[in-house]
């Protein structure tokens, strides 16, 4: 039997990799993927908890996370397209419209 902690450490590792990707990549699409990575890391830990606690509510949460991730991806990618049409780049360090 695999201990719960192993799953959790795996989840933490994947999450950290996602964070690293999000913080370092210039390409906004890859950043988006890093985001998905982080969500998946959370999902792993949730499913693992659910299994070890014998409680299905973790799965329900995962289900919702996937739903939201789908919605988020569609909107996010639409924004990326719109952004690319306007700025002709996907590099976030070339976008600073929000500069105060």
């Amino acid at each position: 039997m695999v201990p719960l902690n192993w799953y959790l450490i795996l989840s933490a590792a994947v999450f950290s990799i996602g964070v690293f990707g999000f913080l370092t990549r210039r390409n906004i699409i890859i950043m988006f993927m890093s985001l998905e990575l982080m969500l998946n890391a959370v999902n792993i830990s949730l499913v693992a908890f659910s299994h070890y606690l014998q409680d299905l509510r973790g799965h329900v949460l995962v289900f919702f996370i996937i739903t939201v991730a789908a919605a988020e991806a569609s909107i996010g990618l639409a924004i990326i397209i719109a952004l690319f049409k306007n700025k002709n780049t996907v590099h976030v360090d070339e976008m600073n419209e929000m500069k105060g």
Binding site: V19, F22, L23, V92, M95, N96, G100
Partner: protein
């Protein structure tokens, strides 16, 4: 017995009708409405006088005007001897002047407006004299001030006229300031503002002292002097006399009615009405007497050198009003009111004559440019001459009796300043005679000094103007006969009549002294006339020489002692300067606004610094967010350990 209500409300109805319908419907018939209404008031006033003579008096409330806690004031009417006399004076003068105005104002574009104002004035003046409480008195007081404002500024497109109206109102407000506080003190002391209740309680406070603004003062002196502030303003006494000469900017009938016969005497009326209060304070009486005497002398000296026809009469009015206060101040209220009553006739007459002269001269007012008008306008000349003789105190005429009574009671009365004010009053009598006849001689005698055009145009005034002159002339001559003193065989009916209201001032002197006082006043009157005759008829070059000799004195007198300039320098300009440079420029702009606008701009400046953190780069935000998460997580962990 409610018909007396018609006295004030007839003119009021006329005012309402004229002001609402005058411009479009009534137009040039406005005088019918007003004149008939005032004449109606006069008839009712005469009936009222008859009732009062038969011993009747009225003190009745119409309705509650103000009610707040224990403060209750009604619109109410008090009719006693004093009121009855004032009613006669007001309605008589008003009626005659209404009639006179029909001719004088003929063809003026604001005809209806003029008559509306006159009616409104009459209403307010009647409310003033008929009031049975201080607040309604104040109502009439301010109301006549309002009408005075309107009528002085009647030719409002002239700057000088509108300035004069404004000045009159504001100067009066200075007096009303004290008057108002006087009413507060009366209410706080007596818990009421009704005359009967106040006067009946006044004696009980004869020795009361109160703390006023930190000073320990005698209550009755305080109240009396505060009320007297109002009188000073309304009756143009020193130091608030400055508005009256300027008020001559108004049409002449207005000067006659408001600024000679009625409104300006309201101050005297107030002092007379409040005699139970004034009598309780010797200090207040001395102040009243001295104010009157000084003003009287002061105005008479200015009158000596003026060249403006109406202003001379205006200064004469100020001087005569001083006389009335002098009388009240020595406790001779009856004499003061008697002089008020006779003065109304001869001074109104003087003004109306001046109006008649102006009418003929095409608006010219400088007496140096007149002369020999006698032959062109005989009625005006003779009536004006009689009025001048009356004011100069020629025996037998109205002015003689009232003036003599004042001087005698000043001389013989109990007042500590009686002798001083008597001496001043006698001097004033001389000056009065002199400048009155200077006016007569320069205007009606000698040769004509105006333009040919004016000379060609000279004519006697129409009937509507001369008839009132003649009626008033009868008053100027005969009105004094109701008060002929016992000394010369008269009944002194006026004094007897007024006794219940005003009391009786006893003269403490022998008949010989009384004869002496009378002789002196007659002598100074005649010598004044004589001097004027000498200087302006016999030796016309003399005035110029005297002027040259006393150039500085002449200049000071001619410029009215520079009082206007002094006020402008001391009060008006500093106030405006403070408003402009301190309040707007510093307090509002540099202090309050600096804080109000400074706080937001300080926040704004801080924000501008803070804004630099916003790079707009997604990575920076993400990094900071991640660091935040890390720190929070770390804190949570460390706490668990």
């Amino acid at each position: 017995m409610q018909y007396y209500l018609l006295i004030p409300f007839l003119p009021f109805a006329a005012f309402i009708i004229n002001i609402l319908f005058g411009r479009k419907i009534i137009k040039d018939n406005a005088h019918w409405v007003s004149t008939l209404a005032v004449a109606g008031s006069w008839i009712v006033s005469v009936m009222t006088l008859m009732d009062v003579l038969s011993g009747l008096s009225v003190n009745q409330n119409l309705y509650t005007w103000m009610l707040s806690g224990n403060f209750k004031v009604s619109v109410g009417f008090l009719i006693d001897q004093l009121t009855a006399v004032m009613l006669i004076v007001v309605t008589t003068c008003s009626t005659l002047i209404h009639i006179y105005s029909i001719g004088y104002m003929h063809g003026d574009k604001g005809y209806y407006r003029f008559f509306s104002y006159l009616s409104l004035f009459t209403f307010c003046m009647l409310m003033l004299v008929m009031a049975n409480n201080f607040l309604q008195l104040y109502f009439g007081w301010e109301g006549v001030g309002l009408c005075s404002y309107f009528l002085i500024g009647y030719y409002f497109d002239k700057k000088s006229a509108s300035d004069a109206g404004k000045k009159a109102f504001i100067v009066n407000r200075f007096g009303d300031f004290g008057f108002g506080i006087g009413i507060f003190m009366i209410f706080i002391t007596f818990g009421t503002t009704y005359y009967d209740e106040v006067f009946s309680q006044a004696a009980g406070h004869a020795l009361t002292r109160v703390n006023f603004l930190g000073f320990d003062v005698h209550l009755m002196t305080l109240i009396a002097l505060l009320l007297f502030c109002g009188s000073i303003g309304k009756s143009a006494q020193m130091p608030l006399h400055v508005w009256l000469p300027d008020a001559m900017e108004g049409p002449t009938p207005v000067s006659a009615l408001i600024h000679a016969a009625t409104m300006v005497t309201a101050g005297v009326f107030l002092v007379a009405r409040c005699n139970p209060i004034f009598s309780l304070s010797e200090t207040a009486l001395i102040v009243v007497a001295m104010t009157g005497a000084i003003t009287s002398l002061f105005a008479a000296t200015i009158g000596l050198v003026q060249n403006d026809l109406k202003r001379i009469i205006a200064y004469s009015t100020v001087s005569q009003l001083g006389y009335m206060f002098l009388a009240c101040g020595v406790g001779a209220y009856t004499a003061g009111v008697f002089h008020l009553y006779t003065h109304a006739f001869f001074k109104a007459l003087l003004f109306l004559c001046a109006g008649s002269v102006m009418h003929a001269m095409g608006g010219e007012l400088n007496i140096q440019k007149m002369g020999s008008l006698k032959k062109f306008m005989p009625i005006t000349y003779w009536t004006m001459l009689l009025a001048s003789l009356s004011i100069a105190g020629v025996p037998g005429l109205a002015g003689f009796f009232s003036k003599d009574e004042i001087l005698w009671l000043a001389y013989s009365g109990a007042s500590p300043v009686g002798k001083i004010v008597w001496a001043m009053g006698t001097l004033v009598a001389f000056l009065t005679a002199f400048y009155s006849f200077r006016l007569i001689f320069l205007t009606f005698h000698g040769r004509f000094r105006g333009t040919h055009e004016q000379e060609h145009h000279l004519h006697e005034s129409p009937k509507t103007m001369t008839v009132p002159l003649m009626i008033l002339c009868v008053g100027a001559v005969a009105s004094g006969w109701v008060g002929i003193p016992h000394l010369v065989g008269g009944g002194a009916h006026f004094t007897e009549f007024m006794k219940p209201v005003l009391g009786h001032a006893e003269g403490h002197g022998t008949h010989a002294e009384e004869w002496m006082v009378m002789a002196i006043s007659v002598a100074v009157g005649f010598s004044g006339i004589g001097l004027a005759y000498f200087m302006y008829v016999l030796r016309p070059e003399l005035p110029g020489i005297v002027t040259q000799r006393f150039l500085a004195v002449h200049k000071v007198l001619f410029n009215k002692y520079y009082i206007d300039e002094l006020y402008s320098f001391l009060i008006i300009r500093p106030t405006i300067w403070v408003a402009k440079n301190v309040l707007i420029g510093v307090t509002d702009a540099r202090v309050i606004e600096a804080i109000v606008n400074g706080v937001p701009s300080a926040i704004g400046g801080f924000s501008r610094q803070l804004r630099k953190m916003q790079t707009g780069l997604l990575h920076n935000y993400a990094t900071i967010t991640a660091m935040g998460i890390f720190i929070i997580a770390a804190v949570m962990l460390l706490r668990n350990w």
